[in-house]
């Protein structure tokens, strides 16, 4: 929780001759619905979310692999109508918060270390956790109970933090030193009016699972509502490297910003400003700008000597010149490999496909899109929309999905061509989880509670491409499955109907047992030929899937031999299942499948 490291000064708003000083805290206390506290359900989810975001950000800043413990339980009846009293506890193993900073972190609005820094951190403004404290205070007359220990402390410090709404300052109450088994970490406990909902778009479990999915380096132990304690271990042993705040890319600027940015550089020459004030501008780029219409004589002029007209010319030339994409370091990705491993933490996966796109610029901002599509064994059902998990900077977005760029992109893809059913202009259907993550230092949200990503055509198109790539990969799995089902159905048909056909013909004709046997053999031969062609179609689908898996294995660096082994095993299983089914009464089919198992695999 680096929030405490930064000092923010607050100013009241002078409205008229009569001085009416209104603090930021006062403003938010009156408008908590704007920051995610618009209903009892959302209050609980938002509080949990803010506490977890802060813990994860703090751990990552300190390069600590996070161990989180989360508990959300009902402890009584709420003070407001139709609410329960809910206890929300989040405990981490992060760096801890110094005693002096506790009040600021939990009791002061806009006190953030991350505000406007251009980093892909989860939290950005320093509003959320103070809003949660305010909500607890307003509904239960008590702010947040915090326990914190840094490496330098011998004993942990425990205190209740309240928000002084009139002055936007935090107040520490009942401060005491306590023994804590942990070397370092923070534990926050909120008790507030709210309600618990586990599943569905706004559910707590949905949030926790989403967090698990995009944070492979996190271990979480959690208890939500009446659920038992659940433990999920990390699948990645490296803490994600948080990209530093890199220089901005010139294509992310608008003219006004460009001019304002120049004022930071004083009397520097234009060419020096361009090369040192932005990323991806080299000497070569400068000469390219000249070719695109930048007046050469301006290059060595001081910035202060340039007119607005000059700036416009420079800006236009820069915008019209192709530059290298922004550094991949300015955005961070979970990565296809980690995402693949992380998916299995949500349940038994049937199959999945993941895609991490290369970073690109959308709406003048660097952005990277990642997609994971997975089908689980015991999750979701046919005929209902897929479960959609949306993420912005690795934070799950849980409300108002219909207005989100991610949803629009999914709906614009023709999923039927990948083997999924999809009503017109809607989410596809089936027992799938679609996870789409957008990471960018500057995500444009539609509202302060960060629930939906505002979508430009460019961003939607970028998400759409990622989805289509993932869809193509997914379709190989689905096709293989359809072919396997086809073969199974055909084999079952032979097994089920063949003997009845022969029996009834024999009855009508009045034929003897030897004719019956001969006819049964003949039938098996005929239908065996049919199953053979279904078998080879299945094999083709399997080969294509295997090739895809090999490519992925190469990409993620798994041993190729391992993959070959896995694929060979898979094929063996399916061929064997065909064989087992036909064996009891199908000589011809038996031969067929025996042949197929011997077929060399590519």
């Amino acid at each position: 929780m680096k929030k405490y490291q930064c000092l923010v000064h607050l100013k009241g708003f002078f409205v008229s001759n009569k001085i009416t000083k209104s603090s930021t805290a006062e403003y938010f206390a009156k408008n908590l619905q704007q920051v995610g506290f618009s209903s009892p359900l959302k209050a609980v989810l938002t509080t949990l979310k803010e506490a977890v975001d802060n813990s994860l950000d703090a751990c990552e800043q300190a390069e600590i692999l996070p161990d989180l413990e989360i508990q959300v339980v009902k402890v009584g009846t709420g003070s407001s109508k139709n609410t329960d009293l809910i206890k929300i506890v989040v405990e981490d193993n992060g760096p801890g918060i110094e005693a002096d900073d506790l009040a600021k972190v939990f009791g002061e609005y806009l006190a953030s270390s991350k505000f406007g820094k251009g980093q892909c951190s989860r939290g950005q403004q320093g509003i959320g956790i103070s809003a949660a404290t305010t909500w607890a205070q307003m509904t239960n007359a008590k702010g947040v109970q915090v326990t914190s220990k840094t490496k330098g402390m011998r004993k942990a410090i425990s205190a209740q933090v309240d928000v002084d709404i009139k002055t936007n300052t935090g107040i520490l109450r009942n401060k005491e030193n306590v023994d804590w088994k942990k070397n370092n970490g923070v534990r926050v406990e909120f008790v507030m009016d709210g309600r618990i909902q586990l599943n569905g778009d706004g559910g707590l479990l949905t949030y926790v699972e989403g967090t698990i999915l995009v944070n492979p380096h996190v271990s979480i132990r959690y208890k939500l509502g009446d659920m038992e304690w659940t433990e999920v271990d990390r699948v990645s042993q490296t803490s994600p490297e948080i990209p530093g705040a890199t220089l901005p890319h010139p294509h992310t600027f608008k003219l006004g910003e460009f001019i304002t940015h120049s004022t930071l550089y004083g009397k520097t020459t234009l060419s020096k400003f361009l090369k040192t004030g932005f990323s991806r501008i080299s000497d070569q780029s400068i000469s390219d700008f000249v070719k695109k219409g930048l007046p050469k004589n301006l290059l060595e002029k001081s910035l202060t000597a340039l007119s607005d007209e000059d700036f416009k010319k420079v800006f236009q030339a820069v915008q019209n010149t192709e530059l290298m994409a922004p550094s991949t370091k300015s955005v961070l990705t979970v990565g296809e490999d980690s995402l693949s491993k992380s998916i299995s933490r949500l349940g038994e996966v049937d199959f999945f496909s993941v895609v991490t796109r290369k970073p690109t610029i959308c709406d003048f901002k660097p952005v990277v899109v990642e997609v994971a599509l997975a089908r689980f064994v015991n999750r979701g059902e046919e005929g209902t929309p897929v479960q959609l998990l949306r993420f912005a900077n690795r934070v799950p977005l849980q409300f108002d999905k219909s207005g989100c760029a991610i949803t629009w992109a999914i709906e614009s893809v023709n999923w039927k061509s990948y083997g999924l059913s999809q009503p017109k202009d809607s989410l596809p259907q089936g027992p799938y989880v679609f996870a789409v993550s957008i990471v960018s230092p500057f995500i444009k949200f539609k509202n302060a509670s960060k629930e939906t990503i505002d979508g430009s055509e460019e961003l939607v198109e970028e998400i759409r491409r990622a989805l289509m790539q993932a869809g193509q990969k997914l379709s190989k799995h689905i096709r293989q499955e359809i072919k396997a089902e086809d073969l199974e159905r055909k084999l079952a048909h032979i097994e089920q109907f063949g003997p009845i056909l022969v029996e009834k013909l024999v009855n009508i004709v009045g034929a003897n047992e030897s004719r019956k046997k001969k006819a049964e053999d003949g039938l098996r031969k005929i239908l065996g030929r049919d199953s053979e062609s279904a078998q080879s179609e299945l094999e083709l689908a399997q080969t294509q899937l295997a090739q895809q898996k090999m490519r992925e294995a190469k990409k993620t660096g798994s041993s190729e031999d391992d993959m070959v082994q896995v694929i060979a095993e898979e094929n063996k299983v399916s061929s064997q299942s065909a064989k087992i089914k036909v064996k009891p009464n199908a000589k011809g089919a038996d031969k067929t499948s025996a042949k197929s198992t011997k077929k060399p695999k590519k």
Binding site: Q496, K504, I526
Partner: protein, 386 residues
């Protein structure tokens, strides 16, 4: 007791079925794919000549060859065939619904047959129809009878003599039935028709109710005629009965029904020339001489009849219009020159997009309860029919 025959059938069904099964079994023994063939009963395999008078099958056949996809159908065909053959052997009869339950009963009694199970009656019906088309026999010849529907007949002149299976004879004088009608069965009957007095015409009314009204108001008392209610699309019983009247009495027959595409295409065409679905039985189940008395398009203007709009926005109406257009292009009956006046009515309906009900005649003179009868008689007298 022997069952009545619907016609003189040259084919011995059990023998035919046995040789079919023998051929299939032999194919299997030789690892050859056995197949079944049946007459294709659809419009694209229907032929029509005005001389013959009804739709007859063309040369197309539906061939079902054994493969993994068709093995279920073939197994079901021989499964039901065996049940039907048993029925023929022991003189048992059933309806299609009963056969559906018989199949379910047999399947329930033997777990091995479970995969054959029929989810609904449509599935078993289509197999029964296929067997009929395959052997080119009527369902009645497979001892599968339908329930009676339509054909309620009134007449003061008609006498029906029925030869019963036990050799007895029953004589039914329709004038002696009081208010009850004579109704033909939807199963084979040996009937002999006789007119006590010259019968001038036979009127088939689409609406059973309107036929009843005409009768109640004394239609058959005032006219030497046969009055019959069709009750919508004529059942096999009604079609066979009309054919019998046409064959044995040689009286002019008129049909009185709604003016809409459905009546022209489905009700009147079926009565006159049979249907594409029953190609193999049209010869015994159509009355080619029946004429369309009305409602005619000209009647609407002449009698200022109330009409309804046919809306293309309505799914049912749109479908009917599309079917009518399709019939003009593909139905050999409407394409035949002899029926150009009927085709003209269809064209008129498509163009005007209106329909007019037979009961609208009752609006012409609300004070005269027998106005409809008067108009019908006038139309017959003036030859105002198609």
């Amino acid at each position: 007791m022997a069952l009545m025959k619907v016609r003189e059938l040259k084919l011995d069904i059990p023998k035919e079925a046995k040789s079919l099964a023998e051929r299939m079994l032999k194919d299997l023994e030789n690892s050859k794919r056995p197949y079944l063939e049946a007459v294709k009963t659809s419009l694209d395999n229907s032929e029509y000549s005005a001389k013959v008078g009804y739709l007859t099958p063309g040369g197309k056949v539906v061939r079902t060859e054994l493969n993994v996809s068709s093995v279920q159908k073939l197994a079901r065909v021989v499964f039901i065939l065996e049940i039907l053959l048993r029925n023929i052997r022991i003189n048992a009869v059933n309806t299609k619904r009963e056969l559906y339950y018989i199949c379910k009963g047999v399947i329930k009694g033997n777990l091995r047959y479970k995969p054959l199970d029929f989810e609904d009656q449509n599935e078993s019906d289509s197999i029964i129809d296929f067997i009929g088309d395959m052997l080119e026999v009527y369902r009645e010849e497979l001892n599968c009878y339908a329930n009676d529907r339509g054909g309620q007949t009134y007449s003061q002149q008609l006498v029906v003599t029925e030869a019963l299976p036990d050799g007895d004879k029953a004589t039914i004088d329709l004038s002696s039935l009081g208010t009850s009608p004579f109704q033909p069965k939807n199963k084979p009957q040996a009937l002999k028709l006789k007119a006590k007095k010259k019968i001038d015409f036979c009127l088939v009314v689409e609406s059973e109710g309107t036929a009843g009204t005409l009768q109640a108001m004394g239609f058959t008392k005032r006219n030497n005629c046969i009055l019959m209610g069709a009750q919508g699309v004529p059942s096999n019983g009604v079609r066979g009965w009309c054919k019998l009247i046409e064959n044995q009495l040689d009286v002019p027959m008129y049909f009185f029904g709604d003016l809409d595409a459905y009546t022209i295409q489905n009700i009147f065409r079926t009565l006159k020339a049979g249907s594409a679905a029953s190609l193999i039985r049209n010869s015994d189940f159509s009355a080619p001489n029946v004429r369309f008395l009305g409602v005619l398009p000209s009647d609407i203007k002449k009698y200022d009849l109330h009409t309804y709009k046919v809306k293309e926005s309505d799914a049912g109406d749109a479908r009917a219009l599309k079917k009518a257009k399709d019939a003009l292009e593909n139905d050999p009956f409407f394409k035949d020159k002899k029926n150009k006046d009927l085709a003209e009515i269809l064209r008129w309906l498509i163009k005007e997009k209106i329909r007019c009900e037979q009961q609208s005649y009752f609006s012409i003179d609300p004070n005269d309860p027998i106005k409809t009868e008067k108009i019908i008689l006038e139309k017959i007298r003036k030859g105002d029919y198609v």
